[in-house]
Each structure stands twice: as C-alpha cells, then as structure tokens.
Point group: C2
Chain length 419, copies 2
C-alpha cells in the first residue's frame, strides 16, 4: 500500500503557513509568532478555513457542543468503529506554528493522499481538531479531549471562567456551540484506534539525528493555582514595616517551586510557574493579591506528590512569617497514559518496511492523546523540532521531517482502517 502514498509537501507547508496567519500576535524577526486563543476571532477563522479545506475534499464535517471538529471519510463498512487521528490548532500567546497544527493539517493531508492513491478504506477514517488543548483561557488543557473521554464533568467545565470571568458556557455559546456538554462524550468502543502526529517539543530526536519518535507513554501532568493574599496600599505611604506584600510572598513561592523540582535529582521532574497575575497591578500600589499557576510533571506520580508536599510546608512557613494567606487549588492531576503495544508495533513495522530510523520514547509534554487513551488504543508519532524549542516563535520542523511523519501516519491509518 505504501507505494500509493504521495504527500503533497508544498501544499502542506503552504497550508501550515496560511494557518499561521490566523493570529493576534505581532510579527517577530526570529520566526512566526502565533497567538490563537480558543474562541477568539482568529481561532474561529482558523476553524472555518479548516472546514472549507475538508469540505473541498468531499469529507463530511461536523462539530460537537464544545467545538471539537470531526472530519470524516466514510469507509466501506461505516458502521465499524473508525480509525482516527488529529490534534489541535489553538496556540498559547507568542507561540510557534507547528505545535498541534502538524497533526491537524498533516492528518488532513494523510487522508487526502490516501484518497488520491485510490484507497477505499474498510473502516471510516476521521480527523479530529480538539478545542482548547492549550490551557491559556480557562486554566485547564485538553478541554475537548477531556470531555470526549469523560474525564471532565460537563457542568464543572461549563462553569469554568476565563480571566474576564466569562464562563465556558457563555463563551462557547457566543462562538456558536450551544448544545449540552454532556453530549460531547464518546463511548469507549467509538474508535478502533487513535494516532496523533506531533512535534517532539524536546531536543532528543534532533540531538540523536533520528527523524521519527514512537511514543510509548505520556508523562503525568498536574496543574495547581496558588492565590496569595496580603495587604495593599499606596506605594509611597504604606511604610515597609507595615507591609504584607503579596508579590514578595509570591516571589518566595516561585523560588520554592524551582528549588524542590531540582531537589528530586530526577531529570523527569519539571515544575514551572508560568503566570503571575498581580492585583491591583499598578506601579504605585503595593500588591494585595497574586495568583500563580503551577505546572508540575513527572513520570513518577509519587515523586510529583513529594514535591507538592515540600511546597506546602514552605507555604505554611510563608503564611506565618509574612502574615499572608495562601490558598492552593488543584486544577488538574492526570494519570500517565500508555500507548497500545499493537499500534506501536504496527508503526515499528511501517518504519522498518520503509527503512526509516526511529526511536521509542516518553512524551514529557502531554497531549489530547493522553485523554483519548481512556477510550481508545492510542499511539503518537513525533518529529524533531529545532533545538527542542516549542511554545516560541522560533519553533521549527523541517519540511522533510514533517512530510516523513505524515507518510508514516498515512501508512498506519490505511493499515488500521483495513483491520
């Protein structure tokens, strides 16, 4: 079957570039800066454009109540569970143009290439574009795939607020998605197999000169929100001994996170404070409240919890010494996912047949596949990214690596659809 697959590299790269123009980021000199927050005008434009591409190819298109898009190529036995692939097109502020998009546009090109090659798949093949893989707007990532897999309570999801205190219920309705979120969940026999193509977002493939990674497991991430409340006032008139500056307390907490993540001695422990919202946020006002968001990941959930315990001890000491209050809120704490040995083996066989070097690896970043693993056998295909850089304008994958990833994805989809 492999000889039938001809990826249109020029068109794929051109589509990736077009998608990157749906952005509210300013142009930068060191790459392509993309900001595409879920349900922003640019996100909605990107969705409409993707649906047009799919419809032009004759694929069926529909979306669900949270805005997940399903692009379906019906098989000769459409009642069988479909084979699916996909990723996301939303982007954090000032990100790059490959994260997620390679899996969506690459998945589309894989389906088009199979169709051009004359394949008539037995099982239907579906491409899914997930809503809000990035946690930027509502503080929780993989919103669409959490709801599909039943991992997030629909009413809790609808009540989540963005920083302007708009709820998901309101925001999605405004964007045109008004059905019940409970309808988003799919049963565990809905898909026969799930495959996601993605850039590695780490340095290993490039460092070792290997063009393809096959993901065997996805590390367990957790998200926490810390709110530190002190006592505000005028920056000129509130004297130093009278202060309970929330930002100074937050600064100590930021350094505690760094210290305890280092202290495990394990390379797989990573912890990051990525946002620091200061209230009232004026140059001449002593901060009264600071909200920090913590992202902490480990391949070992117990080690991750030991870092949290150390942090909590520091918070207790901070509370007493600085006379501030600190509240900790769990945003999400997910279990790691394992790839399906069958799909990984099928991918290994595909690479061997085509003489493509590959590496089996852990995904330290998490993906919608983490949640799709709850309802389907999954695997992921990684391609190298330059300097391991992601979530930045200089994020880059070569056209040839991208094309190779799409070729292997297409081969695997064709095999899985024939099962």
């Amino acid at each position: 079957m492999t000889h039938q697959i001809q990826i249109n590299q020029a068109r794929l790269i051109s589509e990736l570039q077009t998608l990157a123009t749906f952005t509210h980021a300013e142009p930068v000199s060191n790459g392509t800066s993309v900001t595409r927050i879920v349900f922003s005008a640019d996100d909605l434009r990107a969705r409409a454009w993707l649906k047009e591409l799919a419809a032009a190819e004759g694929f069926e298109v529909h979306d669900d109540a949270v805005g997940n898009i399903f692009i379906r190529w019906p098989g000769t036995e459409p009642e069988l569970p479909a084979v699916a692939t996909g990723s996301h097109t939303d982007a954090i502020p000032h990100a790059g143009m490959y994260d997620g998009t390679v899996g969506v546009l690459g998945g589309l090109e894989a389906m088009r290439a199979l169709k051009r090659g004359g394949l008539q798949p037995r099982r239907s093949i579906e491409l899914v574009m997930f809503t809000s893989e990035e946690p930027t707007r509502f503080g929780i990532g993989c919103l669409g795939s959490r709801l599909i897999s039943g991992t997030l309570d629909p009413s809790r999801a609808d009540a989540m607020q963005d920083k302007d205190e708009a709820t998901l219920a309101t925001v999605r309705a405004t964007a045109g998605f008004s059905g019940s979120l409970a309808s988003v969940q799919l049963p565990s026999n809905h898909y026969h197999a799930w495959l996601e193509l993605h850039i590695e977002q780490g340095p290993l493939l490039e460092r070792e000169g290997i063009p393809l990674g096959l993901v065997t497991s996805i590390a367990a991430p957790a998200g926490y929100r810390f709110t530190i409340t002190g006592f505000g006032g005028h920056a000129g008139a509130l004297l130093m001994p009278d202060r309970k500056d929330a930002l100074c307390a937050a600064a100590e907490l930021i350094l505690s996170v760094e210290k305890h993540a280092h202290a495990t001695g394990a390379i797989d422990t990573v912890a990051t404070i990525g946002t620091c919202d200061v209230h009232p946020g004026a140059v001449n006002s002593v901060p009264s409240r600071v909200v920090l968001q913590l992202d902490i990941r480990d391949t070992d959930p117990a080690r991750r919890e030991s870092v949290m315990q150390a942090l909590r001890r520091d918070c207790e000491e901070l509370r007493l010494r600085r006379k501030v209050t600190i509240t900790e809120e769990l945003v999400n704490a997910d279990a790691p996912a394992q790839s399906s040995p069958h799909i990984v083996e099928l991918l290994e066989q595909t690479c061997a047949d085509q003489k493509i070097p590959y590496k089996k690896m852990v995904s330290r970043a998490y993906h919608d596949s983490l949640f799709m693993a709850r309802i389907a056998p999954i695997a992921m295909i990684f391609i190298p990214c330059r300097n391991g850089v992601s979530h930045r304008p200089d994020e880059y994958a070569t056209p040839s690596d991208t094309t190779l990833g799409v070729e292997v994805l297409a081969s695997a989809l064709a095999k899985l659809a024939s099962e």
Copy 2:
C-alpha cells in the same frame, strides 16, 4: 470673608459618588471599587460630566492638547496671574473614590461656595483637572502636570506607549486631543499661587486625631523598569538543568528590592514592585521574559540612590549566576518640592482664625503639586483617610473632614485671589 463660605456638603458627597460610577471595576463588598484609566471610555465620561457641572455654574471651560481641563472664574482683573487649585480624576485599577477626586470636586465646590457667598475675586480663580496623574497606562505619573511645568519633553511624551503599544500621540488624538504637546507648557509667572486638596494616603492625621494637614514638602519619587530575559520553552519538555527561567530571576530581584529598602533602617525609604508582566504568560510555558516596575521613594535622594546601587550589585550577580540578561530603564526620578512659606503661613492663619487643629507634614505620596511647584508657589491641604488606606476600594474620608478641607481651601483661595 470666612462667614460667607457655606459648603454644600450633601451635594459634594453626592457628586463624589456620581463620579465613582464612571468606572470599569466590578462592584466589591468592602467599599467602592474605581478603575478609571486615562482616556478610557469611563475617563472620557467623567471629563464630560465635570465640564457640564462647571458650565452649569457659568465658569469658562477649556482643555489643552494633553486633555488637562481648565475651569476658570474670571476675576475683576483677569490680566493678573490667576490663583489655581485642582487635582486628578483618573484612578488605578481597583482603587477608591477619594484619591484626586476630593481635590477636583472639592475645588469646584470651593469656587461655587465663594460665588454663592458673593465674592468678586480680584484675580481669576482656576480649577485644573490633570490628565493621568496615575502612571497606570504609560508608566509615568503626573503626565499633565509634567507637561504644564515643562518637566517632560513633549516629543518623548508623545512616543510613550501603553501595554498594547499604542503611543500617547495616537491615544490622545483618538480621545479628541490633537494639538502639539509643546503648547501645554505654561510660563512660570502664569499662576500667582497653586493649592491642592487631597486625602493624606497615610495614617498620621487619623492616628493623631487631627483633621487637617498642611504639606511643607513632597518626597522624591523615582520609577524604574527592569526587563529580565531568559530562555523560554515548553513547561513539560524543557528540563530543569537547561532552564534560564526569567520569572525565577525576577523573583530574586523582587526580594532584593524588599531587602534593600528595609536595610536603610529609615522609615522614609519605601520601595515597591507593583507590576510583574510575564512573557509569554501561559501556564505551560517557561517564562522567557519578565518586566518589573519599581517605585522607590525617599525624603533623602542620596539614600534612595544607595538602595539602587545595592540592587544593581544584585542584578549583576543574578546575571552571572542565572545566565539571564537584565536591563534597567529609568522611567522618572524627580526632585522633592518645597511648599511656599507664604501660602503655608496663610493656611496656618486661616486654621488659627477658625480654630481648626492642623499638622504640618511631609507628603510621602507625590502629586501634581510636585510639578506645579516648578512654575508656581504651591501648598497642599491634606484630610485624614481611614486606616491610612488609599489605592483600594475601602479608601474613605468622612464627609465632615472633606467639608472642612474644602472650607479651608475656599478661604485660602479667596485670600490669595485678593492679593
């Protein structure tokens, strides 16, 4: 003349409450939360409303190219330098309803009360509402009075940018103020005297049970902007030993500021980091750049500079140890101002005549009067504020203290206008 002054307290308080409704802050339970950023829709509404109040009283109204509003009651000898009073109506995010507004609406009521009392002033009496006393939008406070006093270069001012990178030139033109900023400056003989009524923004008057403060000098503030640049990346994939996290470096700098401000041992040294902008600012992205704004004040400019020197040594050490870059930018560093002994004496006499207890004091907060002092003899009148709290929703001054301040202001304006 004093017997002719009858302040309409009910109307004054009602007008302060009306002004507080021009806000884009959410209501809070512990006071009146006011956010009124310069040239926002609420700021423009507040300006239009103030001009209506003034016009209704028959006063002349005009504004200059930066939006400073001048409300003039012509004297019998209108060619003489006028006597002026005023303050500002803009408010930092989530501030209170008295800072600045008491001097504007109180000044207006003082003029109305004198008019009702039958005064025909020899010199004209003017009320000035200054543009952007608060530094929220452009990072520099007292924009209007800096330009009036020739303390800020007009072309530098026009080039200043807000956080959306809109220049003052653009923003003021959109708001309807399009003339050259060079036209804003007033000559040093333009005003015969300047008086500003303001809440203390500190605890001293309330603590000592004294209803009135007469300001003899205003402390010297300085503002700096620190930009810390590290190396960003994906919060899952960028391993701890490879990080140059800009927020961790910023956290150390925040704590250095606190440490060195304490270390002078002088109660008059205050230093505050009031804002912390994290780039890219996503929960799952390692911060690559952080911008901190420092507000540092002291009655002794040399001591203030010694704190800056200590901070710079810490920055140098941070740069080397954390392999980040740190740039320091001076936003403003102003000299202290002295009140006019003549006006302070006139105020003391007024208080003595009316048997009002008062206290001569230093203003630790700075005000437009700091800049008006460059072109006119000045003084300030302080009234107590509850718990010394300012820049917060629970900022509060009693109606009787407010009225007393306006009475003394009116008496002094009448005397100065007869000189």
